[in-house]
């Protein structure tokens, strides 16, 4: 499944990084601790978080993550959007909270 298909099936907002929408989604990782994501997330995963600052892009880019989903209606900061567009790592958004969204994403990816 591509990032674009996840966006369509889950009704997500695309804030930035559109050129990465065709990337393949290999799983998901939910965490707000950057070192946790750095140490344990895997290439191709969608990262679910409430961190909106630019450093999430550094982590996502270094780990070759498929996309970032900001929960609870949070919006990325401006410099986050700039890096997302440069690197082609999409920043997406949902109004749902972390628990619900992660559950639905898990079900979608594993079905």
């Amino acid at each position: 499944m591509t990032v674009k298909e996840v966006v369509e099936k889950m009704g997500l907002t695309v804030f930035s990084g559109e050129k990465g929408l065709d990337k393949e989604v290999l799983g998901g990782y939910t965490s707000d601790l950057l070192s946790d994501v750095m140490g344990h997330a895997k290439e191709g995963q969608i990262w679910v978080s409430l961190q909106t600052h630019k450093n999430v892009m550094a982590v996502a880019g270094l780990k070759d993550l498929a996309a970032i989903v900001l929960v609870k209606g949070l919006k990325p900061e401006e410099d986050t959007i700039a890096v997302s567009n440069e690197e082609g790592v999409p920043v997406l958004g949902t109004t749902e909270q972390c628990f619900e969204f992660t559950g639905k994403l898990y079900a979608l990816i594993n079905n």
Partner: protein, 137 residues
């Protein structure tokens, strides 16, 4: 080949720059992706530690024949108790740094898990040197 990057303490807008540059070079050189992944985790954590704790630092990456050596030298407060700093979950990061999702006490353990050799030399009031070696496979 030798790569060198300067890191400013407290400047989180640039955190990860050196790691991302080193990653690009390793990719261009066709280094095994598993090795690159290990280098990226170890180097990013070490780079963020300079930003979060030190005043300034220099990162040098030596691309040797058998692997990559990363040397991170900083001017900063130093680490009074290295054994304690290595304990998972122990952190001296500020509230602001923690709110960004850093400072969870996972950085040094992450480095150790991804390095074939890792040592820390630190002098309180002067600075810290990290020496990391990751073998090619």
């Amino acid at each position: 080949m030798e790569l060198e990057y300067k890191v400013e303490g407290g400047d989180f807008t640039q955190a990860g720059y050196a790691s991302s540059q080193v990653k690009k070079v390793l990719k261009q050189l066709g280094i095994n992706p598993i090795v690159i992944k290990r280098v990226v985790v170890a180097l990013y954590e070490a780079e963020v530690n300079i930003v979060a704790h030190a005043y300034r630092g220099v990162i040098t990456a030596f691309l040797n024949e058998d692997g990559i050596r990363l040397v991170l030298d900083d001017e900063g407060p130093g680490i009074p108790d290295i054994d304690q700093a290595m304990v998972k979950g122990y952190s001296t990061a500020s509230k602001e740094v923690r709110e960004m999702g850093f400072g969870a006490g996972m950085g040094l353990p992450n480095i150790k898990d991804n390095a074939d050799e890792f040592d820390i030399v630190s002098e309180v009031g002067k600075g810290t040197r990290l020496n990391i070696f990751i073998k090619y496979i």
